[in-house]
Structure formats: C-alpha cells, structure tokens
Point group: C2
Chain length 456, copies 2
C-alpha cells in the first residue's frame, strides 16, 4: 500500500504542472481590469480542493470584493484538533514588465532550479503545497489524521478587507479551528527552515500636495509662488532622518522593547551581509544605529516612500511649477503600535509641517496591526519536528519584516494562534520582477506538510 | 492710397485665420515623435515670410536639430538701421491633456476675447505679428522704412542648441544687425505695455538616485536597506529652505546686488497680489522675505523641482523600495551667475550630501546665462514711443523671471542688444493647459510693430 509520502514523491512532476496552471492566471487584485482573472483563480482553487478530496467546497461571496474559497474535511472526530489552512490566490502587480526575463504569467523553470512567475512564492506555490499534502492522505489512506478547513482569500495584496470583515462577522464560526497554518513566509536558506513568530503591521498613507490651481511657468512665478514638489520633499524629509529614525512625534511611544532574551534568540539567525548586498545590489546596509539588521527588519518600525509622481516626467525639459503632486508612503509597525494611533499621528504631523503656501490631503489607504505568536504552543512544536524530518535542521525562530494582517485578526478576533511555516526564500523576489520559487522546496514543502498533519 | 496701418486694420480677420493655421501644427520640440510637425511649422513660416514680401527665404539646416527659418529685405540702404526679428515656431508639450477645455492644437476663439491654443502666446502668435507688420509695408508702400532680417528657430523650448551653435559660428554674419527685436514676453495688463530689460538664466539639472539593483519588498528589507525616494526627498529638501533661500554653498556669490535706483524703478510695476492669487489659485504668495514679489520673480535666482517619478505610481497600494528614481530640477539665474559655475556648485553639493547607501547621477541638461539690456539705446526709445501710439500708455521697464537664452547669446557673442517688445499677458497660461492669446492685442501688436519700424 502506498503511503502519503510515497504518493507525493511519485507525483512531483504532475504537481508542478498543476501549479503552473494556477500561475498562468493573472489574478492581480490591485488592478480592477483583472477582476475576472481574480475570480478565475478562486474557481481554479475550489476545483483543486475538490480534486484533493476536500468537501463542502464553496466560494463565499464578499461585499463587492473577491470571493473567499472554503473547503473542509471534518471526519477525524472531536478528540483530534482542527487546523485552518490559510493562503491567498491573489498576486502583486507585475510592473515594471520590462525587467522580467520571462513573462510574469508564463511560468518558466530554469536551470537554476527555480520556477519563475508572479505569485510562484507569494503565495500560490505555498498554499498549493497544502492542497497536495491533504490530497496525498485522501488518495492513499482515504482520510486525514486530523480535521482540516481551508480558507483562501483574494485580497491579501490589497489589504484583505473582505476576509477581515468575514472574521469580524458571525459567519466566522465556520472557520473556527484550534490553530491556523499559514505558508506565506520564507526559510533562511534552501536548507535552513524558519518559523516566523512576529510580523510587522502597516499603515499605508496617501499624500497629495496642491499649490496653484494649474501648472505654472517657473519663469513667470518661480521664487514668488511655492512649488508643491519642493514642499512634498520637505515634508518627506521631515518624516524620517537619514539614519532611519522616524521623526513623527510619539511614533515610538507604544513600541514594545525587545527583552535581552529575545535579542539573543533573534541573534541566532545568521545574517550574511555580503549575500544580501550581492542579491539586492544595494551599495551597503543601513538603518537605526542602535539595532542589528535582523532587528531593524523584524522588530523595529520604519517608514518608506513607495511612489512619488508629480510635474513633468516625460522626455526632455519642461519648466513647470506643478499644481498637484502625489506620494504613497507606508509605515511598518511592531507591537504594540496600532494602525489607528499611527495613522492619526502621521496625519497630524504632516498637517502641522505643511506650510500655508499649499494645501495637503493626507489619508490612510489601509492598515494592519503587528502580531506576535506564542512560540510554545503544541502546533509550533509539531511544525518544528516536521521541518527536522524533511530538511534535517531545526527551524530558527524569527521576526519577519512583512505584514500578514490576517494573522493579527485571527488572534485578536477569534483567539486563534497561527503557525507560519514558510517554504519560500529571501531571494524569491516577491513583489519584484522575476519572482520565483525554489522547485525542490515546493516538493519538500509538500512532504513537510504531510509530516505536520501526522505530528500535530 | 492705403497706408500700412489701414492695411492691417482691413485684414484683421484674415490674419487671425492665418495664425490659426500655424497653431494647428503640433510642433512640440521636446517630443521626438513630433519631429515632422516641427519641420512642417518651419516650412509654414518660410512660406508666410515669402507671402509677406521677404526675400532670400531659406531653411538653415542644423546638425541633427530643427531648421532655422531665415528671410530678409535689405533695400533701405546703409544709412538705415538693420533690425533682426527673432522668434520661435516650436511649442511646449501640451500635457496634461485632460485639463484643456478645447484641444491644444485646435485653435478656438471664445467669448472672453482670447484665442486658445498651445503656442498662441508662446511664441507663434507673437512672432507672426512681425510677419504681418512687414507685409503691411510691402503690400502698401512696396518697401520697408529700414532693413529687416528674420530668424525663427525651432528649439527654444528645449534649450535652443542649434541657434546657439549657429550664433557661435562664422555663419552668424548673415544675421548681423543693429538690434534684435523679440516679441516673446508679456504686457502687464491688456492696456499697460512693458519692456523687459532683464531676463533670468537657467541651469536645468537631472538627478537619478539608485539604491538596490531591483525593486525590493519593503517588508523584507525596509529599515535595513535605504530607500532612494526617501533619499531623493532629503537631497531636494537640502537644496532650498522653506523660505526659498537656496542652500547650495556659494550659490549667491555672483549675484549682482540691486541698486537702490533699480529697486525704485522695479517698484513702479504695479503688483496686484489678489489678482495673481485669483489667476493662479495659489493659497498665498511666498518667497525670500527680504525681497518684493517683483524682485523675487525678476531679480533673484531660485530653484524649482519640475518633476519627480519613482516607485509604484499606479492604482492601489504596492510596497516597494524602488531601485532608481528621477527628478528634474532647474535654477533660474540672474546676472552675474553663470550656468557653468552654478552647474558645478549644484553637482558638487548634491554629491556631497548623497549618503553612501545609494548612488547618484547628477548632470546638466541645458543652461543659459541671464542678461540685462541697456535701456537707453535708441531702439528702446522707439519701442516705447510705438507702444504709446497704440496703447496710449508708456511701457513700464521690468525684469522678467523667464529665460530667453538667445538674448544673452546675441549680446555676448555678437554684441547685439535686444528689445523685448511683448504682446502676451501674464495670464496667458504659457507652458500650462489652456494657453491663450488676447486677440485684440494680436491686432494692436501688429500696429505697434508697424509704428516701431517707422520710428526706429
């Protein structure tokens, strides 16, 4: 009789081809003209769960948003735990397109052992690991060793509003579980697993600065009417100093200090500065002088400008004082900063430093609280053991710089801890051109998930 | 027998229709895909000069640039002065197109008495005034009261490189004259003429700031790798303080101080703050506290950002640390700052304040020296008297904030003073959407030019 492990090893090629089908769907949630593709990805995921043997599959429609994909298998009895597997089927915009070496929605495996496509690592490839792990049990044992629910959303890259509303509603009872299992993070190297126990939150802000009602000729008015691009630069320069210390009054008030124990634990994470510089092409590392790079990324809040556009940006020279200019800025938050508190401090500060020569419109685009998971719960121990069986190495516990807002919502609204069992790599270029997923770890990820279901 | 004045009054409608033909040609010199339109405008101008009775008309080809249009009439003898009439047939880009109330290249007269089109005031409408003035003499008297040369260029809006090279070459002998007559400036009100005796120069700079070699996810790297948009904002904020005082070391070293006499003369210019605010929509005036608005615009150097683009500027939220970001910045110069000196100080300063966490590429796009014309020369007196005959008011002498680089080049390379006899208005929206030209002053401009040719 075939075991689940034998099953997944025998079906590696088929599983990779199935993943490529999903990656061909450009389910870009930030771009309204891809609404139909986003829905197609949801329907694809629903069908894949049915093929895997999951039951009660359905799309949960949301209020104007993208559907949630639900399915379950709940026949192991009340004495067995119930695991909610969470993932997302939407992806980041692929722009700038000209920097992709192969098209973002034509999945391509290369000799380097990676599969290249938008969404390959974030998160289609990772959530699909769990679909194949449950399928392995159902196609061999005909049953699972515990109870499973899946919830796969389509708005993770645009703030996750629909799932957040669902979690707050009474309907959330149907996804209640003992623990949430999330694969949307990275290992440290191809052979060194990591379990993320801390995630940063986010305040995403939009600023518009308006001076004159129309673009003016800088010869006729320059020096006597203020320029919104100069003002915007002054505003941004006052938000964070050149060492990376945010200057918004009260910004650090609610930052939980790192204990010495936690700093020691975080210090166990190897940080290969040369490799990071080589991979990113950045001239050097940088950041708050009092903290290590790992702490700056995982345990400290920060502020980054993601986009500025204003004035004449076409070819050649044009001499305008622009009318209205725009910036997108986010702050990554850590416990116990709340997005509501930080939004207000940001808005108040920007308004206080805006001169009367322009008007400013500043508003929050979306936000998410930071979260920390208790790293002593049984599911964490099971995850750790599952990694050891597959990769031979104990996972290192890390705080991650990114945001997975739903983890905080599961914790605060439903009392569910999440286990962040990631199979990506820091060099996967998520949110960038040439996103990729290491194919060996797609296969080993399925094996690790098979072990986890047995060990928990 | 018809006089030149009677001729122009009898042909007003025809002259306006002819101008509209020229305005329909989108001769945008900054945009390479309009190269053919730029040439079409040159050929149109050449034909119009022939119709007006000018001789020796030809396109002077330039080295990869746009042709210079030349024509003359030199039969008044050596005892009569020779006037070189200068103008340009190229126009600014029309973007942003959605703000135009009628299409930029479909000239439209409205009930407010203005003709709306890109180039209507800057400079097609103004240079065409002189074509019609000489035509009035040729079609009535059959001769001009003095000798005339025309030189009309097609690169004024992109730095004027070809004409500058021509002026420096031996070939410039063919455009030698006693004085240059330029109509590319504005009156103060529809009835108050102005003669510009000072023009600002320009250093136009491009800055690229590069951090990582590709866009990075701000969750994975934010706080530990520096962000080129934050750095660019810091650089720009350090160039000029919020009062408008440029912070580049040595920037003001060669600024010629205003004499008390000149400040008094400049003070005669009425400055209607409420009208400026109403027209521009700016919340309030602004600028160096020690100088009046007229001085800030005409007699003080300044620095303005004309465009910034970087990161994600599309719909929705994206959380990138961008790789390379761009800014276009110009400084308006006054005597005796030179563009070469200021370019070097700008580049040195930007490099000195750029942190080692990014690389910066900073370079001059083009430059022009400021200029001051001697306001006691006979041509100036003739221009003044011509305005009085037509508008009933003495022109006010002003320093203008814009740059007409060729005026400085005529002065320094060929020893020719320029008379800047403008017929535009400050509210013509040049370089902006809805550029326009006051039709009555198009007609009166032709009459003023007719008087000038007689009086000089």
């Amino acid at each position: 009789m075939t075991t689940p492990l034998e099953y997944v090893r025998a079906h590696r090629d088929a599983h990779l081809e199935e993943l490529k089908e999903l990656l061909r769907i450009p389910s870009i949630s930030a771009q309204p003209d891809h609404k139909g593709d986003v829905r197609a990805a949801a329907e694809w995921m629903l069908a894949a769960l049915a093929t895997a043997g999951m039951e009660n599959g359905r799309l949960i429609e949301t209020d104007g948003g993208n559907p949630l994909v639900y399915a379950d298998w709940l026949h192991s009895g009340d004495d067995k735990p119930t695991v909610l597997i969470y993932g997302h089927y939407d992806v980041q915009p692929p722009e700038p397109l000209d920097l992709w070496e192969s098209p973002p929605f034509e999945p391509t495996t290369r000799d380097d052992g990676y599969l290249y496509a938008r969404g390959s690592s974030d998160d289609k490839g990772q959530v699909f690991i769990h679909v194949k792990a449950v399928e392995a049990y159902m196609k061999t044992d005909g049953r699972l060793p515990l109870n499973i629910k899946f919830i796969v959303e389509g708005e993770e890259e645009v703030g996750g509003g629909s799932l957040a509303a669902f979690i707050k509603s009474n309907a959330s009872e149907q996804i209640k579980a003992d623990v949430v299992l999330v694969s949307d993070t990275a290992m440290l190297t191809p052979t060194q697993p990591a379990i993320v126990y801390g995630l940063r939150g986010m305040s995403y802000m939009l600023i518009d600065v308006t001076g004159p009602a129309r673009d003016l000729h800088s010869g006729g008015y320059g020096g006597a009417i203020d320029n919104p691009l100069n003002v915007l630069s002054h505003i941004i320069a006052q938000l964070k100093d050149m060492d990376g210390v945010v200057q918004i009054p009260g910004f650090y008030d609610n930052v939980r200090n790192l204990s010495e124990d936690e700093r020691v634990m975080l210090g166990k994470r190897p940080f290969d500065e040369a490799a990071v510089l080589d991979d990113t092409g950045a001239p050097q590392l940088w950041g708050e002088p009092a903290f290590t790079p790992a702490e700056r990324i995982g345990a400290r809040p920060t502020l980054d400008v993601h986009g500025i556009i204003g004035g004449y940006t076409g070819e050649g020279a044009k001499t305008v004082l622009p009318s209205t200019v725009h910036a997108k800025i986010s702050m990554r938050l850590v416990p116990d900063q709340s997005p509501e508190e930080i939004n207000k401090k940001f808005i108040d500060f920007v308004q206080s430093i805006t001169p009367p020569t322009v008007t400013v419109n500043v508003r929050a685009e979306h936000g998410a609280a930071a979260s920390i998971t208790d790293w002593t719960v049984p599911a964490m121990q099971a995850a750790s053991a599952a990694y050891v069986k597959t990769f031979g190495n104990e996972p290192i516990l890390v705080r991650m710089g990114g945001s997975i807002p739903v983890v905080g919502q599961f914790q605060s609204e439903m009392g569910m801890e999440s286990v962040l069992m990631g199979f990506g790599l820091p060099t996967d270029h998520i949110h960038s051109p040439n996103e990729r997923f290491y194919v060996d770890n797609f296969y080993l990820g399925i094996e690790t998930a098979v072990h986890f279901l047995q060990l928990y």
